[in-house]
């Protein structure tokens, strides 16, 4: 168990109250016909007003993006909420709806989103749509026509600066010729009709055109970029707002053959909808691909790729060992200290309590980094202090022990806290009664204290287990999953399934969100199964002891 962390996977800390604002806390005093107080009314009006305000604020981006389904959901939800909280009926729904909606928003939707990603090749090189890829391919292939003129560019309009048709006023710095160009083509202007700045070579005024300044021109940025003046060899395009060049797009998409053709080399890349790339006959792929549905390919990869499935069970076993070890050791130590401080003969307990809470009070990600440095073979505190020469993070077992030690240090204060609380709730008469009956302290602990403690703490232990099962920070900030076997850089000795997934999704080798989502689904299934089984067993235990 670990203290609250910042970073991925850290939003929930078991044993603390979930940070969900506004869930009803005490509902037992509610009456169906509570009188309407002025304060209540004001609060209701203000909050529902805010709901409306937020809904309107959220609607604009949705409309802009054309997300009609999202907008529909937003409107329906807001309307339903108003109906629900303005009326006096549906009391149970008033309690249930917020929680349910939160559940949908923060649990169900992410899981569905992850699941849908698992069936795609979403990742670097395959992020956008096919249209995006085509645009990117065509834009990237625009090259300056060799030996062509570099024009000084002035952006002008016919008529109003904000709405008139855009025209490129071009001047050739060498021949001093001046041109006007638009989508219809290029035509030469009479030099006497224009004023050319002697300093920059740009046209500053022209008869019949309104010259735009940089601010005005950049306001119509999209139109400027889109305006292409066709010429014999290619087209004149703007390069910024003051220069233009004659360029040619070497590659063009042909919808007829669903392929990209290179006019220079004559090579053709045909769209392959299975991999989401344009592939040439010789197997060469264009770098810009798009997102496609790959079916069960990712699932197949997890199960059959020897790099993934081979070490999967080893990683899974260590993952269990890590979660059980982190939870178990911290619980044992925390409970032992709690028992010691619970003893009535103990003096200065408050002082000890403050000391014991310290590790919990420090930001754990910083502590993890400090611990990492303390385990350094040559410069680390641990080896220097004890005169050891252990290559902590270099050996598989020493690294595992080191990680568990760090977890123990970070986590025992939490267990100490909850155990102290639970101990206060156990009446001293019970243990006193056992001692009257002649039981040794150990026997009375085994027979009375521990079972009662476990009843109170089991759910917390299970939550702590589930949390540690996916404790990314504990591994990423210390060993980064290492040490790695010399012949397998993908799966390290201390890797948890989640750190392994994290590396897949955000690692240095490029993002593979699809594959990472698939592994997440496997993890989700494992954690869900384990939690379900343990909670069932806890319930049975409670029945035994109660």
């Amino acid at each position: 168990m670990s203290a609250p962390l910042s970073g991925p996977g850290s939003t929930r800390t078991p044993g603390r109250e979930p940070a969900r604002p506004g869930l009803p806390r005490t509902s037992r005093t509610a009456r169906n016909h509570a009188p309407i107080t002025a304060t209540g009314l004001v609060v209701k009006v203000v909050l529902l007003g805010l709901v409306a305000g937020i809904a309107i604020w959220a609607a604009f981006p949705l409309i802009e993006a054309g997300h009609w389904i999202g907008l529909g959901v937003l409107v329906a939800t807001t309307a339903a909420l108003f109906y629900l909280y303005l009326g006096r009926r549906h009391i149970p729904a008033k309690y249930l709806v917020p929680g349910t909606l939160f559940l949908i928003a923060f649990q169900v939707l992410p899981v569905l989103f992850t699941a849908s990603t698992a069936f795609t090749n979403f990742g670097d090189g395959h992020r956008g749509s096919k249209d995006d890829a085509v645009v990117a391919i065509q834009t990237s292939s625009v090259k300056q026509v060799p030996g062509s003129t570099e024009y000084a560019l002035t952006i002008a309009t016919k008529g109003d600066p904000a709405t008139g048709d855009l025209v490129f006023l071009l001047s050739d710095p060498k021949t001093k010729q001046v041109f006007a160009g638009d989508a219809g083509g290029l035509r030469q202007l009479d030099a006497s009709d224009v004023t050319v700045s002697s300093l920059s070579g740009k046209i500053t005024a022209a008869d019949g055109y309104t010259v735009l300044n940089i601010g005005q021109a950049s306001g119509r940025s999209d139109a400027v970029t889109a305006l292409i003046v066709p010429t014999d060899d290619g087209a004149i395009r703007s390069n910024g707002l003051t220069r233009a060049y004659e360029g040619k797009a070497a590659r063009a998409y042909d919808a007829g053959c669903d392929c990209v053709k290179d006019s220079e080399t004559g090579k053709t890349w045909t769209a392959d909808e299975k991999v989401g790339s344009f592939v040439a006959a010789d197997g060469e792929r264009l770098t810009q691909g798009w997102k496609v549905n790959v079916g069960l390919k990712n699932f197949g990869a997890v199960l059959t790729d020897p790099n993934i499935s081979g070490p999967f069970f080893g990683t899974l076993a260590w993952n269990f060992a890590f979660a059980i070890g982190s939870t178990g050791f911290t619980f044992l130590l925390g409970m032992a200290i709690a028992l010691a401080l619970h003893s009535p003969r103990m003096r200065g307990t408050n002082f000890y309590r403050v000391l014991l809470i310290l590790p919990y009070a420090m930001p754990s990600f910083a502590m993890l980094l400090v611990w990492r440095d303390m385990f350094n073979t040559d410069f680390g505190l641990l080896n220097n202090l004890f005169g050891l020469d252990v290559d902590w993070f270099g050996g598989a077992w020493s690294a595992r022990i080191a990680v568990l030690l760090v977890q123990l240090w970070l986590g025992y204060p939490y267990m100490f806290l909850v155990a102290t609380g639970a101990l206060q709730a156990i009446p001293r008469e019970l243990t006193e009664a056992t001692s009257v009956d002649g039981a040794t302290p150990w026997q009375s602990f085994r027979a009375v204290t521990l079972p009662l403690l476990l009843v109170a703490l089991s759910p917390l232990l299970i939550a702590s287990f589930a949390y540690n099962f996916n404790n990314v920070n504990a591994i990423l900030f210390t060993t980064e999953g290492g040490p790695f076997a010399p012949d397998n850089p993908r799966n390290g000795a201390t890797d948890l399934l989640i750190t392994y997934t994290y590396r897949l999704a955000f690692g240095a080798q490029g993002a593979e969100y699809g594959l990472a989502a698939t592994v997440s689904i496997f993890i989700f299934a494992i954690v869900a199964t384990v939690s379900a089984i343990s909670f069932r067993r806890t319930r049975k235990q409670e029945e035994v002891y109660s």
């Binding site: 005490t26 107080t37 949705l62 670097d124 400027v224 080798q509 490029g510």
Partner: protein, 417 residues
């Protein structure tokens, strides 16, 4: 009415949640949203913290000159990933500042557009820098600074610059025996290795990453890792490792390598221009020389990296961004200011000459990088870093070089699409 109040608070949260979900699950930083609302004449640039500070005055000046608003936003973490994601969602900036080895990934995700520089403008740049930002025969960014590794030497401990790595090891061992230093060489590796820092030695021993295609670009089909040359190289590296001379150690990490050097625990440090500030602060006497290669081997070639400005493909003010990047960034004044914010040699020859006189270290770094190799920007390079680094760490720790590198080569090959 307590319960109802609570319910309404929940409703409020829900509306927020609903709005969040509808918007294709994106959570945009607030800054981006304000940018997207601009009606025109507004340029948004993303850069990391240090560069943001240096860029701001110049961006403002550009804005004033042209009657537009320019906003420089600091993205302190994962700039590349954030940029790709934001640009995918249409909420990205108009221009971005970053390392040139991002280009492959940015291009395959359609996040940046090529830029067009005149022949005259191109000639003003350091040749290597221009080569670095060229990908598939297109110029994708305007470089402003270069960086490469060199050997920093504590001149009190080691007055002579070593000619070969063997000389260095001999000198380092002597210092260690005399208890003047505790380490032979500070070359960062860590438990997971560091491909960037080991590369000079790897190249000196004959190893290569990718062959070159006919057009001068790196060829992803010709992978050098796992080839006999790379095995030979790693056999030499293994001799320097923990089971050999002990010059390369996994306990020297990115976090402690510079501080170990400035703490006078090692006389030699392989690092980049960023280490100079620390060395100065620590007040040690140092000198900079090229990273030495193996005796009888090739020259040690460090990677040359380039920092560049890119035009975002999906920016809202592309024309303005092009104007800024191609006509404004190419001015030496900006390069000098960025140099002052972080001392890396400017890519513009004019700017480099201007600061060279004030800062002798700069010339030495640039000298050390003269025979350097441009850091490959092809997307396939992304597959190299992790497996290569881990193989390096394993070999330094005493694993069998042939087996390790062959396996790493296979992994890398498998990841190259």
């Amino acid at each position: 009415m307590r319960i109802r109040t609570a319910g309404v608070v929940a409703v409020l949260g829900l509306a927020l949640a609903a709005s969040g979900c509808g918007d294709s699950g994106s959570d945009k930083p607030a800054a981006e949203q304000s940018a997207s609302k601009a009606t025109g004449g507004k340029l948004v640039i993303w850069a990391d913290d240090k560069r943001t500070a240096a860029l701001k005055p110049f961006a403002e000046e550009f804005g004033k000159e042209n009657g537009v608003t320019v906003e420089v936003q600091a993205v302190s973490k994962d700039l590349q990933t954030n940029f790709v994601t934001a640009s995918q969602q249409g909420s990205g900036p108009d221009a971005v500042v970053g390392a040139h080895d991002w280009i492959g990934n940015l291009v395959q995700n359609g996040a940046i557009d090529p830029v067009q520089l005149t022949a005259e403008q191109k000639a003003g740049f350091n040749e290597t820098a221009v080569k670095a930002v060229t990908f598939n025969g297109q110029l994708y960014g305007v470089p402003y600074a270069t960086e490469n590794l060199a050997l920093l030497r504590n001149t009190e401990l080691a007055p002579e610059a070593p000619k070969t790595i063997e000389d260095l090891v001999t000198a380092g061992k002597k210092l260690k025996a005399e208890k003047k230093a505790s380490e032979i060489l500070c070359l960062q590796s860590g438990q997971n290795g560091d491909a960037y820092h080991i590369y000079p030695l790897y190249s000196s021993a004959g190893g290569y990453l990718f062959g070159t295609a006919a057009n001068g670009d790196y060829d992803p089909k010709d992978l050098g890792v796992g080839k006999p040359e790379s095995i030979a190289a790693f056999q030499k590296i293994a001799k320097l490792g923990e089971k050999g001379d002990g010059a390369l150690k996994r306990s020297i990490t990115p976090e402690n390598s510079i501080s170990t050097f400035t703490g006078k625990k090692c006389a030699f440090l392989v690092s980049g221009p960023w280490a100079v500030a620390d060395a100065k602060k620590a007040g040690i006497k140092y000198d900079i020389s090229p990273v030495p290669g193996f005796a009888g081997g090739k020259e040690a070639q460090p990677f040359v990296g380039v920092q560049a400005f890119y035009v975002a493909a999906k920016g809202k003010n592309k024309a303005l961004a092009q104007e800024f990047v191609t006509n404004y960034v190419t001015k030496p004044e900006l390069a000098v200011a960025l140099y002052k914010a972080e001392p890396r040699p400017p890519a513009l020859t004019a700017a480099f000459d201007q600061v060279k006189g004030e800062d002798p270290d700069l010339a030495k770094f640039s000298e050390a990088g003269k025979n350097g190799q441009v850091l490959p920007a092809i997307p396939a390079m992304a597959a190299i870093w992790d497996p290569f680094g881990k193989a390096e760490a394993a070999v330094i720790g005493g694993a069998d070089p042939a087996k390790t590198i062959t396996a790493a080569g296979k992994t890398i090959q498998g990841q190259i699409k």
